[in-house]
Amino acid sequence: MLEAANIRKKFGGLVAVDGVDLEIGNGEIVGLIGPNGAGKTTLFNTITGVLEPEQETEITFNGEDIVALGTHEIARAGLLRTFQIVRVFGEMSVFENAVAGALFGTEESISQEEAEDRAREALAFVGLEDKADMQAENLPIAQQKQLELARAVASEPDLVLLDEIASGLTPGEIEELSDTIRRLRDELGISVFWIEHIMDAIMGTADRIIVLKSGEKIAEGTPEEIRNDQVVTEAYLGAEDES
């Protein structure tokens, strides 16, 4: 589904992402971890067209080359994302947020009624159907994060990139969220690429984990393999006082 080779992104002299290869298959939940400043969000921004990668970067999504595409075109191709700091449309209602997601996130245009149906389904999926009429900025943060996910789901994407969606949530909320993410794949067939700092959440949910440090991929494997990986442990110990 998503295949990328040699993703590179420099900011002036600083190489933020340095030659990362990755592949995310159909129905996979892939975790992306790494110490602060490892380049995780930059990697997401590069994949989604927010940042322009260096020349040698190759990214294809469902067989289509997406390197030169704009963010909105990539979204329409079925690759959606959420943000590290939640970005719902605060002055719109919860429902309007989801409708916006459904209306614009597909390549063929859909009717307002169709968009409203999809929005209702997406809100029900994350458990926000009772809050449909609330103004989005009045939701607690945990629910704003669910709304951001619902807004992405409403466009019926193939792959969603989640950027620290569990941060700031209580253990109970994290468990609920992990369950939602599993259902995302099992019930809706959406693949997930997920940046997370909260290890319990991601280790218990992901099929495979990719570890990034200083812009480079230093390990990849099942959660079990990653937990026991010497290089990863050192990377985290070295960065312990940052986090």
């Binding site: 970005r87 916006a100 409203e116």
Partner: protein, 340 residues
């Protein structure tokens, strides 16, 4: 009707009110002029509401675009020898394309609202100079009589002053612009505009082509402004560059929009009624202070009154448990009912 146009009945009521408005003052060219100017500045403010209110693109060259509309209409009608009714759409599209280009460049380069306002204010100065300088086309600061659209014939046939016919033509364009606005804001465009205004990055991330929607807003605003500018010259029956300056158009339109309430459906017309009433009073008693007083008013409005009359009135009435079916909050109204 309400399905196609939410709040269509309210607009019909407003329309009726303005259809009847000139009847008691038909004989007075002055009062008919005040009414015409009210609708014209409501028209400018509708354009500004779309491009600035809903899109955060502060167009400060409304005078310039209005002048482009008026001069181009006259030039095409004159040189090609066609009716001004055919020339006006062409002129409007030209102004629309100028608006579109400005929006497109600004969006591509991620200009902030401040940068767009500086860019367009510069263009305003350029257009103003050009209107004066291109003497061969515009008659320079002396101008020329502007009596297009063969309205005096209609007036004679109907037995009313030409100014009254001009008023009804302006009213027709005003109502058309209101219908367009209401439809736009309640459509897919309204949702896209609102998303972009709140968070461009999030809007892009869900598939909204920010550059495209901003350019569309710039085009629509340009078209409406050009029509308003042309009618402004026709209402004055004489065109000079001085009616298309920043102070004469942009400042007033901005005050109108803010007084009435930004992103309020009826903000432009409510604001225009209030501002033109103030103008009429100032014109009678303190003409020399007009500009200074409007400048001071603008500052006060931005400091203390940014939400506008309609919102303030609603808040006031809500405090007293009276409901007023006032303007639409600006975001697209979508139905949350139905099956789950």
């Amino acid at each position: 009707m309400s399905d196609f146009l939410p709040g269509g009945r309210k607009l019909a009521l407003v329309g009726l009110l303005f259809v009847l408005a000139p009847l008691p003052v038909m004989g007075s060219g002055y009062f008919v002029g005040v009414l015409s100017r009210t609708l014209l500045f409501a028209l400018f403010a509708i354009a500004l509401n779309i491009v600035f209110g809903h899109n955060d693109q502060l167009f400060l060259f409304m005078g310039g675009l209005g002048g482009i509309g008026a001069y181009t209409t006259a030039l095409i009608a004159d040189s090609v020898g066609v009716s001004a009714w055919l020339a006006l759409p062409v002129a409007a599209v030209i102004a629309g394309l100028i608006g579109l280009s400005v929006s497109w460049i600004s969006a591509r380069r991620s200009f902030t609202v401040i940068l767009i306002s500086i860019l367009t204010l510069n263009l305003q100065l350029v257009f103003s100079e050009a209107f004066i300088g291109a003497r061969g086309l515009t008659g320079g600061s002396t101008g020329f009589p502007y009596e297009l659209f063969t309205l005096s014939g209609i007036a004679e046939a109907a037995g009313v002053p030409t100014a009254v016919v001009i008023y009804y033509v302006i009213l027709a364009f005003f109502l058309a612009a209101m219908v367009l606005y209401i439809w736009l804001i309640n459509s897919k465009y309204g949702i896209a505009f609102e998303a972009i205004r709140e968070d461009e990055m999030a809007a892009e991330s869900i598939g909204i082509d920010v550059v495209r929607y901003k350019s569309i807003a710039g085009f629509i605003a340009g078209v409406i402004i050009a029509i308003a500018g042309t009618l402004l010259a026709r209402e004055a029956t004489y065109i000079t560059p001085s009616i298309f300056t920043f102070l004469a158009v942009d400042v007033i339109a901005l005050v109108v929009l803010i007084v009435g309430g930004i992103r309020q459906t009826y903000g432009p017309i409510v604001g225009a009624v209030i501002v033109e009433a103030i103008e009429a009073i100032l014109g009678t008693y303190a003409a020399n202070w007009r500009t200074a007083i409007f400048g001071a008013l603008l500052i006060l409005l931005f400091l203390y009154f940014r939400s506008g009359v309609i919102v303030k009135a609603q808040e006031f009435l809500e405090d007293r448990d009276v409901s007023l079916g006032g303007g639409n909050g600006g975001t697209a109204a979508v139905d949350t009912g139905g099956d789950g």
